[in-house]
């Protein structure tokens, strides 16, 4: 059985005929070819697939695409400014060496963007707790924590 699914992704209306069981992440990666959203596990632990749905960070491996019918989806490809300039959170990751292999990075950034909205000046402990659903195997989180603390402050300052 297939079903027609329509939503907005990075500001652009998109629609497709999909098998009902198609995961949102599969739709994003395979149909839209937005491959910045990654799949790192099959048990919703790693958070590499994190995107925003209607402004909230969600794991796109954990819902089927049709649950996002009519939703506003933001992926990592839609975060930087139109001229290519990095968003302050992305810039903070670069300045603080908050990434190594880059695979968990899109999920980290998407999660951090949502977290920073409610935490303009987070403590180290708050940031660590916010990463409960995002795994990184390269950085020991040290520089990710620093990146998110700096990025959140930069976002607050830019308001």
């Amino acid at each position: 059985m297939s079903v027609k699914v329509s939503m907005k992704v990075n500001g652009k209306p998109v629609s497709a005929e999909l098998e009902e069981r198609t995961l949102l992440v599969t739709f994003i990666r395979e149909n839209l070819r937005l491959t910045g959203t990654h799949v790192g596990c099959d048990t919703a632990q790693c958070g590499a697939c994190t995107v925003h749905m209607n402004g909230r960070a969600i794991k796109s491996c954990s819902i089927v695409a049709m649950q996002a019918e009519g939703a506003d989806i933001l992926t990592i490809e839609g975060v930087a400014h139109a001229d290519g300039t990095l968003h302050p959170m992305q810039a903070a990751f670069k300045e603080n060496h908050g990434l190594q292999c880059g695979f968990c990075t899109p999920g980290m950034v998407m999660n951090a963007l949502d977290f920073a909205k409610s935490h303009p000046s987070p403590t180290e402990q708050e940031v660590r707790e916010s990463l409960e659903g995002n795994l990184c195997r390269c950085t020991g989180y040290h520089n990710i924590v620093k990146s998110i603390m700096a990025g959140a402050r930069a976002m607050a300052a830019a308001k």
Binding site: G40, L86, L135, T139, G140
Partner: protein
């Protein structure tokens, strides 16, 4: 440019693409006509295959083909080779059982590949894989190293499941030293099995072109040329010139992506059968049962000491679990990369180590970050700390009494350390970690109901792998040099090709710093290319913290050739003799004059040779070099860990961790610190949270990220790290390598801290709340 780029904290060139989602990992690659593979895997740890029925699967929607071991055998597809021959104590070669890409008659571990289904979509392939009907006849199972020798035989060639018994060192001298020791410290422990768990799962996408009978393989690999060599020369018998291997962006490796895997072979072979691109990407559950695991040693270790705490001898017996088959470098890990490191930082005059390597019904074990060296460090540093406590000598003081201080130093276990300063790193770590204030902190913790402990680890590792002749004499079936090429463009910008693949280490930045610094260029004028056999001349790849020491040196050697040719060109342009040309960071000068030519002017002249010594010199400026290291490099360092253990729950928290490392010269401290952070996290993971557990039936009971705990952000502290520097004496950059240090030193430091906190001799890794609560209840 006046300031040096060497030692500068340059932001990474690779970050923009990763931060914007424009990296390209293997699973991101899709070709026209793409097909998808799904593997049928054994649910049994040991079973005979009575039959494999594929008819139903073949008829399922979208299915293009189903292949079994019989198809591969008929096509004469070879088994997966092992790259290192170990010779046993009796002078016999190790037992090398066949390792078929798809099972032949028998399966020997859960997750072993029985068949592959290829379909138009990934979902269709998976659906159809469920329809393959395999009739298994279960066989008796042995899953643990200690039971292997008396367990049911996995392979005809090794009836006692023993791959080899191997030894290093002077047993008689060791026994004699133990006989007259004032004190002997003995420990028995397990170095727990780990699953590497790079966050990007393994992935492969193979294409075949009938037009020119060529293959292109995209694969998440740490060493594309090695992958190609193994696949073409040993398994598929393809002409090497017809196979291109691309390892694009790779999402972490930690050893697990060194090896040639069966999935790579099967997809490549199938791409030709179907003349369509075939892609397979592991899901995490598959990764747990099919990626090579790490560690899994059972060890008895003894240290003999004189009355003043001087080390007299060390005796180590280890049983190493290799899993069901020999993975690519499995055999050298518990031998060459392990026993040779047992001198540590100390002058122990006599060391003997015997290793029994066994087959069991578990996933194959191979090199995982550190590979043998974490296991060796754990032996040495747990023994030393325990001996100090038993002899009531301060653990730092005991170490200092035994430090090597004269270099070069020949150990009794084959290695010759070129340089080091172990006092410097230990003293710095004690100062930064405020060891002097520990007593007060311990009391404060006590008042909060917590047990606080402090532990050291002073590790050494052998990196910069490896002098090919030495490795060859020890059984390596490959050379271990590295290759690099400097392609100078007519307008003076540079593309550098390196055989050192980067999958998080930041080579595109670090290597560019080396080149830009030497040529007086900006970072933007230098690009690093790696990971494609059609672009890079050759390469042995990235593992063993070898990239800067071996790959970086190959680049420097090629740079030297560029500069040498540049001098000839400059001499012509400046009408001077070649011997009078001096070169410094991008400027060729006639000595003692102000006559000069920039690097860009010389490059331009090389490609527009109107005024050029064409009778003596070829035009162009493009040089390559192969570098085979003269020795290993020996990074070393001192770690101080403080833990708090909750008396009520047994939960341990790392409250402070100080690491002071000596990596020789540091090119980019920001990147080096990041490597240390990551290594520490994996070492702490081994000590506190990670355990790959099999039950007696060979079922993996920690087979997902919900069961196997890789550290979360809340499990780790902010690390205090610093470096001290004794430059490597035998490579031009003075570099040693930094990728594995944290994973090597951390487990012993953490467990020394935990046993200190609890006041017990030993606790098994991982020191989970449950394990510690049990230890406290017993104590």
């Amino acid at each position: 440019m006046t300031t040096s780029l060497i030692g500068a904290r340059v932001a990474r060139k690779e970050d923009y693409r990763f931060l914007t989602g424009s990296g390209q990992y293997t699973d991101d690659v899709a070709f026209p006509g793409q097909t998808y593979a799904a593997f049928v895997r054994s649910p049994h740890a040991h079973a005979a295959l009575r039959s494999v029925k594929i008819d139903k699967a073949k008829r399922a929607p979208g299915v293009l083909a189903v292949y079994t071991g019989a198809d591969l055998a008929a096509a004469k597809v070879g088994g997966l080779p092992c790259g290192w021959l170990i010779t046993d104590v009796n002078g016999q070669p190790m037992k090398e059982p066949p390792y078929p890409a798809l099972a032949q008659g028998k399966v020997r571990h859960v997750g072993e590949r029985v068949a592959v289904v290829i379909a138009e979509s990934a979902a269709q392939a998976r659906d159809a894989a469920e329809l393959v009907d395999v009739d298994y006849q279960p066989l008796p199972v042995v899953a643990s190293a200690t039971k292997a020798r008396k367990g049911p035989a996995l392979h005809e060639i090794a009836p006692d499941n023993t791959c080899y018994v191997w030894a290093l060192g002077d047993k008689n001298a060791v026994d004699a030293a133990f006989a007259k020791a004032a004190h002997v410290t003995k420990l028995e422990f397990v170095n727990n099995r780990l699953v590497p768990n790079a966050i990007e799962p393994r992935s492969v996408n193979a294409t075949y072109s009938r037009a020119d009978e060529s293959y292109t393989l995209y694969v998440a690999s740490q060493n594309p040329h090695v992958e190609r060599l193994l696949m073409t020369a040993f398994v598929l018998g393809l002409p090497e010139n017809k196979v291109r291997v691309v390892a694009p962006d790779v999402g972490g490796g930690f050893g697990s992506k060194i090896y040639l895997y069966a999935e790579d072979v099967v997809c490549t072979w199938a791409a030709k059968q179907l003349a369509r691109p075939v892609k397979w990407t592991a899901d995490r559950s598959e990764a747990f049962v099919s990626d090579a695991h790490g560690r899994d040693h059972v060890t008895t270790a003894e240290l003999a000491l004189g009355s003043e705490g001087n080390f007299l001898a060390m005796r180590v017996r280890t049983t190493a679990n290799l899993g069901a088959y020999l993975s690519t470098f499995a055999s050298c890990v518990p031998t060459i990369l392990y026993a040779t490191l047992l001198a540590g930082q100390y002058t122990t005059p006599a060391i003997f180590c015997e290793v029994t390597a066994v087959f069991t019904n578990t996933t194959p074990v191979d090199a995982y970050r550190g590979a043998g060296r974490p296991e060796a460090t754990y032996v040495v540093e747990r023994l030393v700390e325990t001996a100090a406590r038993e002899m009531k000598i301060d653990p730092a003081e005991l170490r200092k009494r035994n430090f090597i201080r004269k270099f070069p130093y020949q150990t009794p276990v084959a290695l010759q350390y070129d340089t080091g300063n172990y006092d410097a790193t230990l003293e710095a770590a004690m100062k930064i970690g405020d060891v002097a204030g520990f007593r007060d902190r311990r009391e404060q913790s006590q008042r909060r109901g917590k047990l606080r402990g402090l532990g050291y680890a002073c590790y050494i590792e052998a990196c910069g792998i490896a002098p090919s002749n030495v490795a060859g004499a020890l059984g390596a079936r490959a050379g271990l040099y590295e290759a690099g090429e400097i392609r100078v463009h007519p307008t003076g910008t540079v593309t550098v090709f390196t055989g050192s693949h980067a999958h998080g280490q930041g080579h595109e930045t670090t290597f560019a710093q080396v080149v830009a610094d030497r040529l007086g260029l900006s970072m933007e004028q230098v690009d690093i290319v790696h990971g494609d056999t059609s672009k890079v001349l050759f390469g042995m790849g990235t593992y063993g913290s070898r990239s800067i020491a071996v790959g970086g040196t190959a680049i420097v050697k090629a740079l030297d050739k560029v500069v040498a040719k540049g001098k000839k060109i400059a001499a012509h342009l400046l009408e001077a003799s070649e011997g009078d040309i001096e070169y410094e960071r991008g400027v060729f000068k006639v000595a003692g004059t102000d006559k000069k030519k920039t690097f860009g002017e010389v490059a331009f002249a090389a490609y527009v040779p109107h005024n050029y010594p064409l009778d003596k010199l070829e035009p162009g400026l493009n040089e390559n070099a192969f570098y085979d290291p003269a020795n290993f490099t020996f990074p070393a360092g001192s770690y101080v860990c403080e833990v708090e253990v909750d008396r009520e729950t047994g939960a341990a928290q790392i409250v402070a961790f100080t690491a002071v490392d000596d990596f020789g010269k540091v090119i980019n401290p920001m990147i080096v610190e990041g490597q240390v952070h990551g290594g520490l996290a994996q070492g702490i993971g081994q000590a506190l949270t990670e355990n790959c557990a099999y039950d007696d039936t060979g079922q993996l009971v920690s087979g997902s990220l919900a069961d196997y705990c890789i550290p979360r952000a809340t499990d780790l502290p902010l690390f205090k790290i610093d470096t001290r520097e004794t430059p490597c004496t035998h490579n031009p950059l003075g570099v040693k390598g930094c990728g594995e240090a944290g994973a090597i030193g951390a487990p012993a430091a953490v467990m020394n801290a935990i046993t200190d906190a609890l006041g017990v001799k030993d606790v098994p890794m991982p020191a989970t709340a449950q394990n510690l609560w049990r230890a406290m209840t017993r104590a």
